[in-house]
């Protein structure tokens, strides 16, 4: 694994470069590294949420190493693309991506959840400007992302896209649908929501707690362009995000079907690993599985 990967260059408005330097195979390797990093961080912290970091690894890898336009060392660059993780408990995989991209030191990942750390248990924008907004109170991120997309329209100097990664459980919150309705009304075509649809939330399976289906039809009914994909397929993620980027009249949502705890057999598809740190022995087993895959 090299020290930080080359980043997608700025390509102007509309779409992102297919000629990007990070290959699909590299993105797969990065996703695997982000999983290992996330588990190491959560293990070192002694608490955290592994399941939702593991399910989002390919999504976050594609965003930070192919899709998003940003400059390392310039979290305040006004032309950067915005990315919010609304499911704030999944932030370890984002911290790992920021570290692997060279935005924060790799060594800092050990400070997750420690006192005085920039890597708070849930994202803290004031301490770490690379995370675009504080989240962790579920259901609020899409509204904030929508505000960013609406601000972009008034900005005569800078073009950027706004991406918002949502958990599936938080779609049970009414505010998400308030934001979905408003994005449909305002036709914010430069807003892309991504649902990490891993089917499991803290108390159990989403279906049994408060079913979201028919989910694609709900977003369609609110005026969104909808893509449904395998959220662990790098090819599918890139294609869906590119299809979103060329929309001119509607906001887009990528419903990414994923597996909670993906890549670690004993963490997959169970709420038991929603919010629990692995022991040292469990960590070693998990990493062995990820590296053998």
């Amino acid at each position: 694994m090299p020290e930080g990967f080359p980043l997608t260059p700025h390509t102007g408005a509309g779409t992102f470069a297919r000629s990007s330097v990070t290959s699909v195979e590299e993105l797969r390797q990065i996703a695997r590294q982000l999983r290992v990093d996330s588990l190491r961080m959560i293990h070192a912290a002694g608490s955290g949420h592994p399941g939702g970091s593991l399910s989002a690894a390919e999504l976050v890898a594609c965003l930070y190493f192919r899709v998003l336009r940003y400059k390392v060392g310039r979290p305040d660059d006004p032309s950067r693309d915005r990315f919010l993780i609304s499911k704030g408990h999944g932030v370890p995989v984002v911290y790992a991506a920021l570290a692997r991209a060279g935005c924060i030191p790799l060594d800092e990942l050990k400070s997750l959840r420690r006192i005085d750390s920039r890597l708070q248990g849930h994202p803290d924008h004031v301490r770490l400007p690379y995370v675009e907004a504080a989240t962790g109170s579920l259901g609020q991120g899409l509204s904030v992302a929508l505000g960013m997309a609406m601000a972009e329209r008034l900005d005569t100097k800078h073009d950027y896209r706004t991406y918002c990664l949502l958990g599936d459980g938080e779609l049970q919150a009414g505010q998400v649908w308030e934001a979905a309705m408003a994005a449909g009304k305002f036709r914010t075509s430069r807003l892309t929501a991504i649902v990490d649809y891993n089917k499991v939330q803290l108390d159990g399976h989403v279906r049994g707690i408060m079913d979201l289906e028919p989910l694609a039809e709900k977003f369609s009914a609110f005026g969104w362009h909808v893509e449904q994909i395998d959220g662990h397929s790098v090819d599918a993620i890139l294609a869906a995000l590119e299809a979103a980027a060329v929309q001119s009249e509607r906001p887009s949502v990528v419903i990414a079907h994923t597996v909670k705890g993906k890549g670690v057999s004993f963490m997959e598809d169970t709420h038991a690993w929603h919010g629990k740190a692995p022991t040292t022995e469990e960590l070693e087993r998990a990493i062995a599985e990820l590296e053998a895959a």
Binding site: H125, T135, Q140, L142, S143, V144, G147, M148, A151, M181
Partner: protein
């Protein structure tokens, strides 16, 4: 009687829109009530109708502020600060430069009754560490605080306004100073510290008490947070007794802010006077009388306070 502070706010906002291109206004289906309609008509591209979804409105405003805009989100005080969870996370914790504007504060709104009355908003907004809290007493002050907030870039702020017309307490040449209380009248026996719609009533009450031989001062606190602790300490040492007056619940509002500021100040007794219990329907004037917030009521409370042990400990009572 002067204008309602919401009216002065709306006129000022429409005026400064011309010189402040970063100011945007968000509305939750109350633009004609909260008086942002004038701004909407003048700058439709910077006015956003979000519908009856205040939590979403707060979140959108936070995102806009994080991208460099200065959003004003206005609704009734109870509705907008009722989205405390969204204000706390999306605005407060992000230190987003949003102006939360709560109109129709207090029992002074009258007939609509409790569901429309902002009676806990000061307590909620004061509790957020970086939230500035302003409450103008009259139309001139509402104009000045609105101008101030359009330029302020220090983080989130809350502006509390009235539905009803209020007395004019400041002169035409009034200069607004953020964080400074305004001593409207000096007195040696008792200092009344008031804010918002109650300031005009407090001045009248002090005049009534003066005719009865009591020397009562009045200070107007437009900046409830950060509060003018220096002024409060001066009043405490001069009078030894402070009576706070506000159209807000008695927990967490101006009175609490005053007591917090004087918590290590020896030799002062503070009485907090405001709204007890939930509000109710009636005319604003009737409710002010029932809850002792009109001039007669304030004078009655003040006289009783002076008679029953407000005097400085070890003082010349």
């Amino acid at each position: 009687m002067g204008k309602a502070t919401r009216a002065a706010f709306g006129e000022t906002l429409a005026r400064i829109g011309a010189t402040h291109p970063r100011v945007v206004v968000l509305d939750a289906d109350l633009a004609s009530s909260v008086q942002t309609k004038k701004f909407a008509d003048a700058y439709p591209e910077r006015f956003f109708q979000i519908g009856i979804a205040e939590g979403n409105m707060v979140g959108i405003a936070a995102g806009m502020a994080l991208c460099g805009l200065t959003p004003f989100v206005a609704s009734f005080a109870c509705f907008v600060t009722g989205r405390f969870e969204q204000i706390r996370m999306s605005i407060g914790y992000n230190n987003a430069n949003v102006r939360v504007v709560g109109t129709h504060s207090g029992i002074g709104i009258g007939e609509d009754g409790y569901s429309q009355m902002g009676l806990e908003d000061l307590a909620l907004m004061r509790s957020l560490p970086n939230m500035v809290v302003l409450q103008p007493a009259d139309a001139i002050e509402a104009e000045k605080t609105t101008e101030f907030l359009a330029d302020y870039i220090g983080g989130p702020a809350y502006l509390r306004l009235t539905r009803q017309n209020v007395a004019t307490v400041n002169g035409e040449g009034y200069r607004f100073e953020f964080g400074k209380g305004v001593e409207l009248r000096e007195g040696n026996d008792l200092a009344i510290v008031a804010s918002g719609a109650c300031v005009g009533e407090a001045v009248l009450a002090a005049e009534l008490l003066g005719k009865r031989g009591m020397s009562v001062g009045v200070a107007n606190i437009h900046t409830i947070k950060p509060i003018d602790a220096d002024l409060l300490h001066r009043l405490a040492s001069r009078c030894g007794a402070i009576l706070t007056i506000e159209d807000h619940g008695i927990v967490g509002g101006l009175g609490s802010a005053v007591v917090e500021a004087l918590s290590e100040c020896p030799g002062v007794v503070v009485r907090i006077h405001g709204v007890h219990g939930y509000g109710e329907s009636g005319t604003g004037a009737e409710l002010f009388a029932k809850h002792g917030l009109d001039a007669d009521g304030i004078a009655r409370v003040a006289a009783e306070f002076l008679a029953r042990g407000s005097r400085r400990v070890g003082g010349a009572a």
